[in-house]
Every structure is written in structure tokens, then in C-alpha cells.
Amino acid sequence: MADVKLTIAGRPYDVHCADGEEGQLIQLASVVDEKVRTMPGGTEVRQLLFAALMLADDAQEARGKIEKAEPQSDSLRAAVALAESREATARDELQAAVAREKAALKELETARQAPQHSSPAVNPSNNRALLQIADRIEALATKVEQLP
């Protein structure tokens, strides 16, 4: 235990506290002392009573602010979690789509090369479609790269 000498409203008080808490106790006493000094006139007991009431009011107001802020921060946290989960889902879906496109492209290449041995003729409309797909996938790549 530690002994601390406090002065509140001009009167000295000897107080005991746990070791290491002396600084905090002195700081709390200075808050009370400051409050008491703002109470003009009256007896010392009256000044201490009003200081205690003012401090209780401050504490209640602070508790009210915290209670009001808690639901807001809860809903913000929930919104952030939801946005993150949606983004992760979208990213997974896009990655799966890319994998499907790669597989499809491989199949297309295989199919394109297979009939070459029996028939060297090329279907120009298929090739045109392939070129259009290349344009669209390149545009997609640009969009994905520019996602925020």
C-alpha cells in the first residue's frame, strides 16, 4: 500500500492506495479539486456536494454518449463485414469464371485442331466469333484491373 497526501478545497487528506496507483489518485484528486473551486461560496461540505453532483452528471453524460455510439459502431462493423464478404464472393466467382474460360478455351483449341487432319477448311464465322470474344475478354480484363 502507498500513502498519498491529497489537497482538495484547501484541506489536506491522507489516503492509502495500491502501489503504482499514486499518480492516478493524485490526478483524480486534482479533477475533484478543480470542480470544487468552480463552486463559489457556501460551506466546504456544500462545495464538495455540488462538485460530486457535477462529476456524477459528467459521468452520466459520458456513459450516455458511449451507449449511443455503440449501436452505430456495431452497424458500421456489420456493414464493413458484409461488404468484405460480398467482395470476397465476387472475387471467387470471377476466379471460377476465369478457370472455366481457360478450360473452355483449351477445349476449343483441341476441337479446332482435331478436324484439321480430316478437313483443312476453316469456318470463317467461327474465327470471327473468336476474334470478337478476344475483344470482349480484353475489355473485361481492363474492367477487372480498374476495379476499386
Binding site: E84, E101, P148
Partner: protein
Amino acid sequence: MELDLDESSLAIGRIERALSRIEKALTDRANRPAPTVAAPAADQSALKAEVAAVIGELDRLIAEADRG
């Protein structure tokens, strides 16, 4: 404009490179910290619709190529 086999190979090369760009962009996104502002849901839906449309078009081409 008519395309021959070499030009279709070029088109496939372009598709492969674009897919690699998409993969890289998605991997980079997964590895960086979450953005404070996510892409609007409408943009994501449009992107998904376009991906689905391109896959559908590729499937159609494959089916045609399979039929010879």
C-alpha cells in the same frame, strides 16, 4: 475481313493473355488490404453478366467446332 488459321491462333493468344491479366488482377486484389470503398453492386453484376455471356459464347463455339 476473313481470318485464316494463323489469325484464329492469334485471337486465342489474345484471349489467353487477357485471362492471365484477369487472374493477376484478382490475385493482386486478394492480396492487398480491403478497400474502404467496394465496387458498386451494379458494376459487379454487369461484370458477372459479361463473364457469363463470354463463357456462353465460347461454349457455343466449342459445340460448333465439335460438330465440325
